[in-house]
């Protein structure tokens, strides 16, 4: 569907913006694909390059098998010929037009086929109905609330049945409650229409909840591509592990493969930690052991007293009751371990045993 190969955009020093280097990914038809990363990582630049709003320095892009950009051959298809739909961060709803006119605009601009006013009217009203905006059709777009503007922007992006829908942090300007509503609505709509979507966000929970696949970006490069499960449970490197979800990262050095447990041993500040090693790259040069707070097992101290593998004794130093769970910081030597536990009540300064289940503890590379 969309194929991006070694896309590079270098900015002159004057413009302070994250460039991108050698970005490559593929989006299959009907997929909800997310570019996730902190601000300045190049995700918006990538999206704008796909949109045709930014001319990349080098690389190749094809859309439905047709080249839309190729630096080698000097091909650049302008944005207005790519037949895309896009929702901007600011929504970019035109304040001098009505809701209807905003939505009708892409249809009026369609090349080749000239639409009759009646067809336009029907198509626009159908789209506005899907978005729950039909009753606002004749209203000025400037009078809409934030959530309504967002839906109008989406209606405008979808009305001409674009090849690809691009979403640039569309939820970031909404308040928390509306954001959750729009998030599920967006997902439902995308599945219903079946449109291929590229979504840009810095919000990891949005990315996990919405996407079929995620490309995590860091410093102008792609750090990992995978399904939400893969990204969260099997991060390739320390950046992905710490950016997506919260984690305990224990830096150390590789001691060797453990034949019995089919894992690797890493010497950390706590002592030796037995980890699962997911890919050979990480296994050959692991820099750290990673464990998510919810996978740490917290138990009252018993007789075995730390002799067992991956079991350490520490003292609870902070407790925060969150309602559905309790979060504690356990101090083991000089290392703080964040633990999220669903059951159990702990007081401060209590001695506890902390266990890292080896199948939940990952050996990962550190950059």
């Amino acid at each position: 569907m969309l194929q991006v190969e070694s896309l590079t955009k270098v900015y002159s020093p004057r413009e302070n913006g994250g460039g991108i280097r050698n970005i490559g990914f593929q989006v299959t038809a009907g997929e909800f694909y997310t570019l996730l990363g902190p601000s300045g990582c190049g995700k918006t630049t990538t999206l704008r390059a796909v949109a045709g709003l930014e001319v990349p320095t080098a690389g190749r892009m094809t859309l439905e098998g047709r080249t839309i950009f190729d630096s080698g051959k000097g091909i650049f298809m302008p944005a207005n010929q790519r037949r895309l739909g896009m929702v901007f961060q600011s929504y970019a709803v035109w304040p001098h037009m009505t809701v209807f006119e905003n939505t009708a605009f892409p249809l009026r601009m369609l090349r080749g086929k000239r639409w009759s006013e009646l067809d336009i009217r029907q198509r626009v009203m159908r789209t506005l109905e899907t978005m729950g905006l039909a009753s606002f059709a004749s209203r000025s777009a400037a009078q809409l609330s934030g959530g309504q503007q967002q839906r109008l922007s989406l209606a405008r992006a979808l009305v001409a049945e674009p090849r690809l829908l691009l979403l640039d942090e569309p939820l970031s300007n909404l308040d928390a409650l509306l954001r959750e509503q729009m998030r599920s609505e967006l997902r439902r709509l995308q599945k219903e229409v079946g449109i291929t979507t590229v979504y840009v966000t810095h919000d990891q929970s949005e990315a996990l909840a919405l996407s079929d696949r995620i490309a995590v970006m860091h410093d102008g490069r792609i750090a990992q591509i995978g399904t939400p499960h893969q990204i969260y449970l099997q991060p390739d490197n320390a950046f992905v592990a710490t950016f997506v979800g919260r984690s305990n990262l224990l830096r150390g050095r590789l001691l060797g493969r453990d034949m019995q447990d089919a894992g690797v041993r890493i010497a950390t500040d706590l002592g030796t930690v037995l980890c699962k090693s997911l890919n050979s790259a990480a296994a050959s040069s692991p820099g750290a052991a990673l464990i998510r707070p919810e996978h740490v097992v917290l138990t009252a101290i018993d007789g075995s007293g730390g002799s067992e593998i991956n079991r350490f004794r520490g003292r609870v130093s902070q407790v925060a009751f969150l309602g559905e769970a309790t979060e504690c910081v356990v101090q083991i030597g000089k290392v703080d371990i964040l633990v999220r536990s669903l059951a159990g009540q702990y007081d401060g300064s209590e001695l506890v045993d902390v266990f890292f289940p080896p199948e939940r503890t990952l050996a990962i590379a550190v950059d």
Binding site: R48, S71, I75, M77, Q81, H96, F105, P106, R156, L166
Partner: protein, 584 residues
């Protein structure tokens, strides 16, 4: 957000599969090339002609002779040059400080205190913006003159035979010029005080600072960059001003640079164009330096922008028992700035022959001058000419500025040159630009000298920088994503500009139109040297009346004209306020 101009170099290369070829780079578009060519044609010739005449001898027929540096060397050798320079600086500095002091006091009272009748300040400033410079100056000359009511009053109170105030002096010039600029200083400073976050001041009072020390250490300190920028602006405007130096300075032999040029051209026989041009070149250089400094200072003001957005609200300071004193000041300032000059003019307009204020004169009051002015074909022509001139100049400037401003704000290829060209005329003091165009029209061998069309050209060149700034500010307020959304929706550059950017620019453009209109109809010094018998405009007519001593006609025409212009001024301010555009 990045600009979306292409940076990939390369010509049009055919796309694969025999498809359409797409240019891989956004080259300089035809519109930009045309605009640059047009601006070059309008802006460059005045410079060339001015510089050329300053460096050549002129024979009596007006043709250029041999190359010479004599015009410049005469200036630097003359003993009067030093005192002219000193006068110029003293005059500009004094007026800037006076305008700033009055403007800042008004702005603070109106925006930050609960003083009585604050709205009066706005009304007064707006009315005063509509009064032609010449009329305003004449009003003060009549009021403060030897036979004026103030001197008469002082003589009665303290006795003596010699008048106490000589308005035809440097201090007189400073006073009148300062008064002229104080309303604008107020209007430009009031947003500065309005937008300053009260929490800074509250923090100061928590720390134990009283009203005056808060004002001194916090409010004024934070407004300092804005005050400095505005002071510099008035300094520049005063250095290049012509009306006060000509009407107040020349009779009292207080000569500044701008009046020297006029003197060389009209009072010397034969007119010394070479020397006047050399003075013009000197003034250009001074202006260029001052504007550079101003740009630096103005750029600094953004660092102090104090609107924080969240939890922002201006605080109104309770003046307590000072409230009445402040109220008195609020009545006094507009009284001095507007009521006194207007009343003086009205008095002059109603008298068949001007005489000082007296009870005996009241019986002579009548509408004779108004009847004469309104019945005279030449007066009606000058009003029509002024309106046509203002409207055409405003329309051309607005149209050019809309396109150029968009190109500059969106940084399309070639926009830097465009920006430079459109900003260049700022270095011309009006009288110098008039002189440059006079030479251009005379030597150009064209028939347009003295026509209304020529005045339109001069005004367009003079006011394109202001138009550009307006349009640029307007475009900056339009989020680039609004145009990008149009591109995604399938619109080309032209389509996106006309369907999205232009409609959204309308309020800024209306405001730009009215602003340029007001500038163009007020201009005296710009027009003085280029008007012809068929293109007389009101502002210049008023100037001529004063020199001919026709005070009654001057006052009557002035009153009628002030009423007409005030309508446009009010319209301008309504638009500017409605769309929250900066004034000026």
């Amino acid at each position: 957000m990045m600009g979306h101009a292409g940076r990939l170099d390369g010509a049009i290369i055919p796309a694969e599969r025999g498809g359409k070829a797409y240019p891989a780079t956004r080259r300089v578009s035809l519109a930009v090339v045309l605009l640059i060519a047009l601006l070059c044609a309008a802006v460059i010739p005045p410079f060339v002609f001015l510089a050329y005449s300053s460096l050549h001898q002129l024979d009596p027929t007006g043709a250029f002779g041999a190359l010479t540096f004599e015009h410049f060397s005469t200036i630097f050798r003359s003993r009067a040059f030093g005192s002219t320079l000193v006068n110029s600086v003293a005059y500009a500095l004094g007026s800037a400080l006076l305008a700033l002091a009055i403007g800042a006091a008004q702005a603070w009272l109106a925006e930050r205190t609960d003083a009585f009748l604050r709205q009066l300040l706005y009304v007064a400033s707006i009315v005063s913006l509509g009064i032609p410079y010449v009329l305003y100056i004449v009003a003060w000359l009549l009021f403060l003159g030897k036979a004026g009511p103030l001197n008469a009053l002082l003589l009665q109170l303290f006795g003596g035979t010699e008048p106490y105030i000589n308005v035809y002096s440097l201090s007189g010039m400073i006073f009148i010029e300062g008064m002229l600029w104080s309303p604008l200083a107020f209007l430009l400073l009031s947003p500065v005080f309005r937008n300053s976050d009260a929490s800074f001041e509250e923090a100061a009072s928590i720390c134990g600072a009283g009203l005056l020390s808060t004002l001194r250490h916090v409010t004024l300190r934070m407004a300092r960059p804005a005050l400095l920028a505005l002071g510099l602006l008035v300094f520049i405007k005063a250095s290049e001003s012509f009306e006060v130096p000509a009407l107040v300075g020349l009779p009292g032999s207080t000569i500044v640079l701008t009046s020297t040029i006029y003197q060389r051209l009209t009072l010397d026989m034969p007119p010394d164009i070479g020397s006047a041009s050399a003075f013009g070149v000197l003034l250009l250089v001074i202006m260029a330096i001052l504007l550079q400094i101003y740009n630096r200072v103005a750029a600094q003001t953004h660092r102090y922008q104090t609107v924080t957005g969240k939890g922002y609200r201006p605080r109104v300071i309770r003046l307590g028992r000072w409230r009445y004193a402040a109220g008195a000041l609020i009545v006094a300032i507009p009284f001095i700035v507007v009521v006194v000059p207007l009343a003086t003019i009205l008095w002059a307009a109603l008298l068949p022959f001007y005489e000082p204020l007296s009870v005996a004169a009241i019986s002579k009051l009548g509408f004779g001058n108004f009847v004469q002015v309104l019945n005279s074909q030449s007066f009606r022509d000058s009003i029509a000419n002024s309106l046509i001139l203002g409207a055409s100049a405003a329309t051309v400037v607005t149209a050019l500025a809309a396109i150029a401003g968009w190109c500059v704000a969106r940084r399309v290829a070639g926009s830097r040159l465009l920006d430079l060209l459109a900003t260049l005329p700022l270095v011309f003091p009006a009288i110098v630009l008039g002189l440059a165009f006079l030479e251009l029209f005379v030597h150009g061998g064209t028939q347009i000298y003295g026509s209304l069309f020529s005045l339109v050209i001069v005004s367009v060149v003079a006011y394109i920088p202001y138009g550009l700034r307006y349009a640029q500010l307007g475009v900056i307020q339009i989020h680039p994503e609004l145009e990008e959304a149009a591109a995604i929706a399938g619109a080309g550059h032209v389509g996106a500009f006309f369907r999205i950017a232009l409609p959204l620019l309308v309020p800024a453009m209306i405001s730009c139109w009215l602003f340029v209109f007001l500038l163009a109809v007020r201009a005296v010094s710009l027009m003085l040297l280029v008007v012809g018998p068929d293109s007389q405009v009101v502002a210049v007519a008023l100037f001529d009346f004063w020199n001919n001593g026709q005070i009654g006609e001057l006052a009557a025409l002035g009153c009628v004209w002030t009423a007409i212009v005030t309508v446009f001024t009010v319209a301008f301010l309504i638009v500017a306020r409605r769309y929250q555009l900066p004034i000026g």
